[in-house]
């Protein structure tokens, strides 16, 4: 989405520069110019329509959570938009009409109510939940680095001709993909100490997450490694490179590029799975904070929505970063 729009906006910038001279010299436009402008206009219209649609959908979403109510009134010839407000003094609540639209024709009796949120709660807990962002990002970043290293090793192991390495890599992927992440977190936190390995809550979580995502990502990386054509390997070998030089200098750099978009997908998923690490009790990221804020006062939905806004924000920012990275890696494609 952003990539596409961005390149469009980039295009506008160029266009503005180049059309300026033709404005100062009001010579009749050539056929080429007319056609160019027509095509440009069509593209801009598309972008604007997309942006408008997004805004409309965001507004719809906001409306669904506005707590407003649509009601027919005055014998169905009006639609009233009402709000459920606390009348001062007593704790009773009642509908207060904000405004009403005359629809003219009687549209029958109906009432449509939307989801009411406790905005007071939101205001009070917003900052508390927000402060979990850095924990979430920190765990995810540490874990994705661990996962990337493990995934690369596992993917290389899958290509190994040395049986124990091949077996280890397939065993790892199978075992970890085959069992729930939650169990893995618990295992690293509470069972490993019995084997003499004592990890803090954070590190138990990071290692469990890294191992887990590493197993899933190894399949991505394997596909990436396989996507680098045989010709590339042969060219490297024919030049006298060793297997490991070939891998490090020729294959992996190209495979990584192929692997960036799906790895981005995984990182976005990990932002949310990092919440499982909270179960250890030593990490207080966004979702833990949402639970701690919302559950005791029965404002779960509100708390989760605040968390969701942060997650969405992080996801969008990260996607933008990812686009940049993809563009950088595609520099050989121009």
């Amino acid at each position: 989405m952003w990539k596409r729009l961005e390149s469009r906006f980039h295009f506008f910038a160029m266009a503005t520069v180049t059309t300026t001279p033709s404005a100062s010299t009001p010579a009749p436009k050539s056929q080429a110019q007319l056609i160019l402008e027509r095509n440009r206009r069509a593209r801009r219209n598309f972008t604007l329509s997309v942006v408008a649609s997004w805004i409309a959908m965001l507004l719809l979403l906001l409306f669904l959570f506005s707590g407003l109510k649509l009601k027919s009134s005055a014998a169905g010839t009006q639609i009233a938009i009402t709000k459920w407000v606390e009348t001062t003094g007593n704790k009773q609540k009642q509908d207060e009409t904000l405004f009403s639209l005359p629809v003219g024709i009687p549209s029958g009796e109906f009432a449509y109510s939307t989801i009411t949120l406790d905005w007071g709660f939101v205001g009070k807990n917003f900052a508390f939940i927000r402060d979990g962002i850095w924990q979430t990002i920190g765990i995810s970043a540490l874990s994705i680095v661990t996962a990337t290293v493990l995934a690369l090793l596992a993917a290389l192991g899958r290509l190994s001709t040395f049986p124990p390495v091949y077996a280890l890599s397939t065993f790892y992927v199978s075992l970890i993909r085959g069992t729930p992440l939650f169990l893995q977190v618990i295992f690293f936190f509470l069972a490993l100490p019995q084997l003499g390995i004592d990890l803090s809550g954070l590190w138990a979580g990071v290692i469990a997450l890294g191992l887990n995502y590493g197993a899933y990502m190894s399949e991505i990386f394997r596909a990436g490694l396989l996507s680098v054509g045989k010709g590339q390997r042969e060219a490297a070998l024919a030049l006298g490179m060793t297997q490991s030089q070939m891998m490090l200098r020729i294959v992996i750099p190209q495979a990584l590029r192929f692997a960036v978009p799906p790895t981005g997908n995984e990182f976005i998923a990990m932002l949310k799975d990092s919440a499982l690490v909270s179960a250890t009790g030593f990490v207080h990221e966004i979702l833990w904070r949402a639970g701690a804020a919302g559950k005791p006062v029965n404002r779960n939905l509100e708390a989760l929505m605040i968390a969701a806004v942060f997650y969405w924000f992080m996801t969008i920012s990260f996607s933008a970063l990812q686009d940049r990275l993809e563009k950088y890696m595609a520099r050989g494609d121009r």
Binding site: L190, S200, F282, A293, K295, P296
Partner: protein, 282 residues
């Protein structure tokens, strides 16, 4: 984890040497323990950076834990593992004790040491305000929501052995023919009713939770009087690598002292509005 320089002989020694008592608590129960949205880390704390301090939590359990720390002469620090992990024992020395309104059950006694109870809560049925359910008799043959793996579930399933309560604590027999609906936590029951779901109208939980539900605006009412009373106590992991016995007896003494000098009663009145620290007698 530990932090002592010279190897202490037992858990109590380790706590004294470390200067902190690491307490696990579930911060999802108001008014027992709640994270303060505007909480600040206590200044000059000895707590590790991934532990919470007195300034970041509040509630009855929190105050009891702070008082216990004070009486041991150490600072109290808090960690917040999942409730399942706390009740299951095998804490791998990650924290010292639990002060989390934990009911003493037969199962838990196999893996945890308990002090004598520091307070008692009544188990209370509640129903949606508009459901028309007004007495215990109305509950028969209804679906009833509870938190999964709670004493309330054991009670409804008539597993009194699992419950392990003395005869005198049980005031009423469970209603007949109910369908038990176990949700992830007690709070989810009230939340479902509050959201307008109609899968069930009744739930069973602690009276303090029901009070809190009503106070926070969930349209529910109490049904009948409490059906049994739970003994809630401080728990210590039996499988700790250091001997916990001296800690258990020290804490037990402290709890008893807090009963006699009125500290607990004062805290109970402060947080619940009534004194829940007197042992039940039918």
């Amino acid at each position: 984890g530990g932090g002592a320089t010279e190897a202490p002989k037992d858990l109590l020694g380790q706590i004294m040497a470390r200067g902190t008592l690491v307490v696990s608590t579930d911060p999802n129960y108001a008014p027992q323990s709640v994270a303060k949205p505007d909480g600040k880390r206590t200044e000059g704390t000895k707590c590790a950076s991934d532990q919470l301090t007195a300034g970041e939590l509040e509630g009855f359990d929190v105050d009891v834990a702070l008082e216990l720390g004070k009486r041991l002469g150490v600072e109290t620090c808090f960690v917040t593992p999942g409730w399942d992990l706390i009740t299951a024992g095998s804490w791998a020395d990650k924290w010292d004790i639990s002060v989390g309104s934990m009911t003493i059950t037969t199962g838990r006694q196999q893996v945890l040491h308990f002090t004598s109870p520091y307070y008692y809560t009544p188990a209370q049925f509640a129903a949606a305000a508009d459901s028309g359910i007004a007495s215990l008799d109305d509950i028969a043959n209804q679906p009833v929501c509870v938190g999964v793996a709670t004493t309330y579930e054991s009670y409804l399933n008539k597993k009194f052995d699992d419950l392990g309560l003395p005869e005198s604590s049980i005031y009423a027999q469970p209603p007949e023919g109910v369908t038990v609906i176990p949700l992830t936590s007690d709070q989810d029951c009230a939340q479902s009713i509050g959201a307008g779901r109609t899968d069930f109208q009744v739930y069973l939980t602690s009276g303090t939770v029901v009070d809190q539900n009503i106070a926070s605006g969930v349209p529910v009412v109490k049904v009948g009087s409490p059906v049994y009373s739970e003994d809630l106590s401080v728990a210590i992991d039996k499988s700790h690598s250091l001997d916990p016995t001296s800690l258990v007896s020290k804490l037990d003494e402290a709890v008893k002292a807090m009963h006699t000098d009125g500290t607990l009663a004062k805290l109970s009145n402060q947080w619940f509005g009534i004194d829940l620290t007197q042992a039940p007698n039918k």
